[in-house]
């Protein structure tokens, strides 16, 4: 009798191979290494086996096989997450969803689409070109990240200021629950029937099940768009202008701030005409119908003048508008010329506290003898301080982590929260008790337990339970096309 190979002798592998096929179940060192990391600085454990399902039934079979053989499972999209949410811990079954990348249905009249989780965010809006509709969540990683990943992280992006983060754009979702059962949560139209389990699922970071089909809301393209560039001689003046715009009753489509170091780094690459001697610039995008947009331009020019802006430039044509945004969205390609390594944080503060907290961040970074670049979603108070350093310097890691922790503490103390769009993953779970009491965390655990009573779905993430995994031993080199 022929001996069974090592691969097929392993009962978990046998089950997975019979559910998928041998080519789509990988255990080689290359695959296991590749799928052990995401775009974060977190290093966890190793992947047990990497699966590439192509249907809901195959995803369910992967989950059932993992469960039957006492293994955890972790879902993964493009791996662009910044909090270690898809980093494996205890040799889990890694369920990679990038082969489920079909746009299943677009219903223009009802303004919705059904997509598979592996559809790349920007590909959906490209596919919708000419329909007058688009998918509103626009994380800076949108040319790489998947909609399944957006659902898992409840992702944001610059234009979420007006349009809301991913949860506001997910109408329904087909989910493989952690016991393998398939359910559809939410409705194509209308409020949820019973509990809003769809709303509970979105942002679950892969701990509540795996999304296999997603019904997204499509947003009408605005008839008029204006992009403004405001420049200031102090970060405080820029921050006060942000508060003044919101307090005046305007909600711009986007309201972004970049400090001088970012502007200096980016301008040579994009030639957007950013003033490199400004302490801070604001990018304000207004959209809607022409009279409303024109009126808001007038109001913002006046507010900017009152708060000391040196100039307000309104992009005259589409090319200029694109260049202004290109500088913002690709800011981080330019960073490597300053330092080879980076650590990106993500907190939210009340927007009226922007000036004082950003100033405090500069002080924290100076105390630790580091460099910081600030480019962030100012309109909703979502900070993205990017700490730059050279990991070859002895002792620098400790200083980077100390600065990162202090930024989180200062944000929470200012009445803020741990994360605005990157999620908790492994990176921030140790900080959860800064924001939440034990009773708050227990309530969150109750939600999680209802979805996953046995705790096999991406465990050791989000909540600061006893299980630990993941550590920041070596912060990452800047990858190509890094983003915030």
């Amino acid at each position: 009798m022929r001996r069974m190979s090592g691969r097929t002798r392993d009962p978990l592998l046998s089950a997975l191979i019979s559910a998928l096929d041998a080519q789509r179940v990988q255990t080689g060192d290359g695959a296991r290494r590749l799928y052990s990391r995401d775009a974060s600085v977190i290093r966890g454990g190793r992947v047990g086996v990497v699966c590439f399902p192509e249907t809901t039934e195959e995803v369910s079979a992967c989950v059932v096989a993992a469960l039957a053989h006492g293994r955890d499972f972790v879902a993964r999209g493009a791996g662009t997450g910044l909090a270690g949410g898809a980093v494996p811990c205890d040799e889990p079954v890694m369920v990679v969803l990038t082969r489920m990348d079909r746009i299943l249905e677009v219903d223009v009249s009802r303004r919705l689409a059904w997509v598979e989780p592996g559809v790349v965010n920007l590909d959906l809006s490209r596919h919708l070109s000419g329909t007058g509709l688009h998918f509103a969540p626009d994380p800076s990683s949108q040319q790489s990240c998947t909609i399944g990943g957006n659902v898992a992280n409840n992702s944001g992006g610059p234009h979420c200021l007006l349009y809301g983060v991913t949860s506001a754009h997910v109408l329904a979702v087909e989910v493989v629950l952690p016991d393998g059962e398939v359910v559809v949560l939410g409705e194509e139209e209308g409020d949820s029937v019973g509990y809003d389990l769809r709303g509970a699922f979105v942002g679950g970071e892969g701990t509540l099940g795996i999304a296999t089909r997603i019904c997204v809301r499509l947003t009408e393209d605005p008839p008029d768009v204006a992009t403004l560039l405001l420049d200031f001689m102090s970060v405080g003046a820029a921050a006060e202008t942000v508060s003044a715009i919101i307090a005046a009753g305007m909600i711009p489509a986007a309201l972004e701030m970049m400090d001088q170091r970012v502007v200096e780094a980016v301008e040579p690459f994009v030639n957007a005409g950013y003033p490199t001697d400004a302490a801070a610039v604001l990018i304000v995008e207004l959209d809607g119908q022409p009279s409303g947009v024109a009126d808001e331009i007038r109001q913002i020019k006046e507010l900017a003048r009152v708060h000391g802006a040196r100039s307000v430039r309104v992009a005259a044509e589409e090319g200029e508008r694109e260049r202004i945004w290109k500088g913002r969205k690709s800011a981080f390609g330019a960073i490597a010329v300053i330092k080879p390594d980076y650590y990106l944080n993500d907190t939210v503060i009340p927007r009226t506290k922007l000036a004082e907290v950003v100033q405090r961040i500069y002080e924290i970074v100076e105390e630790q003898d580091l460099i910081v670049m600030n480019v962030f979603h100012a309109g909703d108070g979502n900070l993205h301080p990017l700490l730059l350093f050279d990991a070859r310097e002895a002792g620098v890691m400790e200083r980077v982590l100390a600065a990162g922790e202090e930024i989180v503490r200062v944000s929470v103390a200012a009445g803020g929260v741990l994360s605005g769009e990157h999620g908790i993953g492994l990176e921030k779970k140790r900080f959860m008790s800064l924001q939440f009491s034990p009773a708050d965390l227990e309530a969150q655990q109750r939600l999680r337990s209802a979805f996953d009573p046995v705790g096999r779905a991406n465990p050791a993430k989000v909540l600061p339970t006893g299980a630990s995994c993941g550590h920041v031993t070596s912060l990452g080199r800047l990858p190509d096309g890094a983003w915030v």
Partner: protein, 296 residues
Amino acid sequence: MSAGDACMVAFQSDVGDSGAVCVRGGGTRWEVGGGPDGAREVSAPVGIVALDPAEMTVMVGAGTALSDLAGELVIHGLEVGMKGPSGATVGGVLMVGRSAMRRRRVGTIADVLLQADCVGADGVAFTAGGPTVKNVTGYDLCRLLVGSLGTLALVGRVILRTRPVPARSLWLVGEAEPERVLDATYRPSCVLWDGVRTSVLLEGHGEDVDETAGRLALLGLTATEPPVLPPGRGRWTGRLPSGGVLEVGSGVVHQADDGGPPTVPDGVRRLAGRMRASFDPSGRLNPGRDPYRVAA
């Protein structure tokens, strides 16, 4: 009773840790999902705790009348994306979880709730969500609470997202297909269809509203008073019942009587059952109510 911390402590004490209990708000939709089976009634704190127009958020006791909150907000040019019957409370409207008719503009009711201070079935106070307008920290308990009819926790105080009140509002009506009206408008706040006539609510900058109204006049739409809708609700099934009015895109039909509750797949029911048992193992919170026994 104001809604400060001392009142939250009193609310927690009122809820206690044993015996069937429910919160009575304005009682305007008391029978939704079934009555609470003789549970002891408590009241949630009342009053606006903090309103910061520059932050566009408001902290308010769940027992506050929605009309009182709206009256205060409008002084600052603000509103919340919630609507309820006369006398309804903030907490009651959130727990029933019906989005406002203007949801196309103001978002769904789930988008309004940023933070909720609650008392759980074990009598322990906890906070869901966070105070900022953007937040993905931990699980989204707030969305789970909206529409839960008080079966997962009892909400005492909330932080809500506010929005600027539109400069101009105008209802129009005429015999046109709703699809044609939608094609001729940009993000109207509400579109209603009674089978013959389409009503549309335009909101925004005055000149934009006038310009759109001019375009709709070509389709035969003329200015009108806000519509009075039938009192019942049902879910849109592709056919309009006699006398019914469809809220286009919302799945809701306003009709004479409430429709029957929609069919819920077994898997979803099981998950919902686990959710309720996880938060309230002894079944003491609003014991007779079932969020799945609601028409729409």
